[in-house]
Symmetry: C2
Subunit: 254 residues, 2 copies
């Protein structure tokens, strides 16, 4: 049984609280949040507090899950010697933690929204710590909720987080732009779902380099010019830059 | 039983040949291709030809599935009065067909690669024709292979094809850029698959506007600056443009 305290109430914290509180191998001792209102919904299931002096001192792992910018300052306030304190951020180095405790990272590589249920089973958990015992402890915690645990250092995690911005945040924005084209032309966005799904599934079996299709890949200038003429300024810029990038990738030029 | 002739041997033709030749409600009478070598693999299952004079005249539907640029010129050569001749292109209007036949479009909205198996069941088929009987015939053909058939006019189809460039071609290129970041840092691209899949699945239930996450959505300037500093020129340009577009979408500015 791993005893855990969670500090924070954002999207990642929300889903970790949810998965840990249902798991028989984890005991969620306490949830801390500065704004107690945001964690009131938990009060019947777990101890909640907004006072760091009341922090339960008997946990094995303290998980800080708050905005990246605040991690360093917040960690300074924690007085938990000989305890393991981790954060859950993709882009923050382990050394950003300034508590006197042992340091670690427990980064679930997934995009979390509060209003979308998620299964942790297939979420890669990236763990990092300063010593072997803590690595083992974090791996143990990771494997009770997921089948995929990776030991990843701070430099690699920063790169993964950057790659994730491309394949998740920017991809979602392209969905948004596609959706807006549909809306402007009275076409249900549903019609694109099978294509979106297939595009995502294809790269599980084929490298994205090999999976590429479309006018830019074919160097089909006529179609590209026609499509550019259909677009307003913002979409035109994105279309041009991404098409050029595809053309360059395959050794062609617009 | 719908009798069909397919003209062409590209990715779409390949998959249509495959699904029609296995379907008991469709009789694939013949496959035509200018270069006979590309369809030699079919010769034991279906009649093949590279001579338009030998075209079987008894089919109900002639499906032209060749590069967009060639459809118009190619269709002029067809002498099939009172027959239905369709193309399979997303970006070509129905009127590009110049045969003396009845005109139509049979556009399966999916990205096809020869080396990736595909199930037609969930692929939206967009059909268009000049008269009601032909619409009915195309809908009949669509529903023997798919559960999703949409009546879509040429203007809408052009817009769908454009939206598809954003959600498929450009999205795949972002996967490629994410993959290259992984490769440069000895990180297995596999680690991003669950995120890629979740990002795609999320927009089946949530609008892309609501599903957006990431530094640009949060207006997290510090993270964006740090990430920009990590990127080479090409990726930096794409990062900047897409982040700005996200910021604008949510009423913020970089």
């Amino acid at each position: 049984m791993i005893k855990v305290v969670i500090l924070g109430a954002g999207n990642v914290a929300f889903h970790l609280i949810n998965v840990f509180s249902k798991n028989k191998d984890v005991k969620l001792l306490q949830v801390y949040n500065r704004n107690i209102q945001k964690i009131q919904y938990l009060k019947n299931d777990v101890e909640i507090t907004n006072n760091l002096f009341h922090l339960n001192k008997t946990a094995d792992i303290y998980i800080i899950s708050i905005p990246d910018d605040s991690i360093s300052e917040f960690s300074k306030q924690l007085k938990l010697p000989n305890k393991l304190v981790v954060h859950t951020s993709g882009s923050v180095a382990i050394n950003a933690l300034k508590s006197t405790s042992n340091k670690g990272v427990f980064y679930p590589l997934q995009s979390f929204s509060k209003n979308k249920k998620i299964s942790f089973k297939t979420i890669p958990i990236c763990v990092e710590a300063e010593n072997k015992n803590d690595i083992t402890l974090l791996e143990k915690l990771a494997t009770v909720i997921s089948t995929k645990c990776y030991q990843i250092n701070s430099e690699q995690r920063k790169q993964i987080h950057l790659a994730a911005v491309f394949v998740n945040n920017f991809v979602n924005h392209l969905y948004y732009l596609g959706n807006s084209i549909c809306e402007e032309n009275n076409i249900p966005f549903d019609i694109l779902h099978p294509l979106i799904k297939e595009t995502a599934e294809k790269v599980e079996h084929l490298s994205p380099f090999k999976a590429q299709t479309g006018p830019a890949k074919r160097n089909d200038i006529k179609t590209m010019e026609k499509q550019l003429a259909m677009l307003p300024k913002n979409k035109k810029e994105i279309y041009t830059l991404l098409s050029n990038s595809i053309l360059n990738t395959y050794g062609k030029k617009l």
